[in-house]
Symmetry: C2
Subunit: 139 residues, 2 copies
């Protein structure tokens, strides 16, 4: 039976509030809030604000990542939500960001990543007995 | 005419060399090398190594981002390469990582992100006269 290690939601947020997607601090806060709402385990994150406008950033979560690029000049944000395991729902993250950005029109698609034919065996996204996270971060 | 702000390549690297995808320092080095080869402007990056195995990370580039999740236990790495503009090719990044990971089987798909009907006007991924990057990074 084909099983997937991860699921990924690719989102196009159109008609966003300019102010909601133009400041790196604000975008970072919304992204972290979204991850917390979904009960994701936040590992590390980085956000960057471009001149004259645009924010890029990513939150690495134990369950994978959420990445964003915004073009305030087009009131547009591209968001990728990659999750593994059954403990969190990417759609909680989606919903929170949609509300924060006040997106007037959003489109999304969900994909499966890392497909394996495991026969009767269950595909584990992490070995069951070792959920511990090593806190070392490479800079 | 419909024009896209970005293009994104979603890659599944199967049958990778265990050692090439199990250490955060090594994976970070390969990812940064790949970005340099493609002449991408590296803005910031973060990588994390999970216990007992697995690496997650992202490189924010001026032209968007490259993100990775590895499952050494399955010899598998999921890579997303999101680029904007015409100056860099995501396939250069793809090729470098494929070689570094010694992937025996890879599959990929390319998507357009941020589609706008601009009529005769050209969609600019960043305003032409302001290519400068603000170096502030939110932690």
């Amino acid at each position: 039976m084909m099983q997937a290690l991860g699921r990924q939601i690719l989102v196009e947020f159109y008609q966003c509030n300019y102010d909601a997607i133009s400041n790196a601090d604000v975008v970072a806060q919304y992204m972290l809030e979204a991850c917390q709402k979904a009960n994701a385990t936040i590992v590390t994150h980085t956000f960057h604000e471009f001149s004259p406008h645009g924010v890029s950033g990513a939150v690495i979560i134990a369950e994978s990542h959420v990445a964003i690029h915004t073009w305030p000049e087009y009131n547009y944000a591209a968001v990728d939500i990659f999750t593994c395991g059954e403990t969190i729902s990417p759609w909680v993250i989606y919903k929170h960001l949609e509300e924060c950005f006040e997106s007037g029109h959003a489109s999304s698609m969900e994909l499966k990543r890392g497909l394996f034919d495991m026969g009767e065996k269950k595909l584990l996204f992490k070995p069951e007995n070792t959920p511990k996270i090593n806190s070392a971060v490479v800079k």
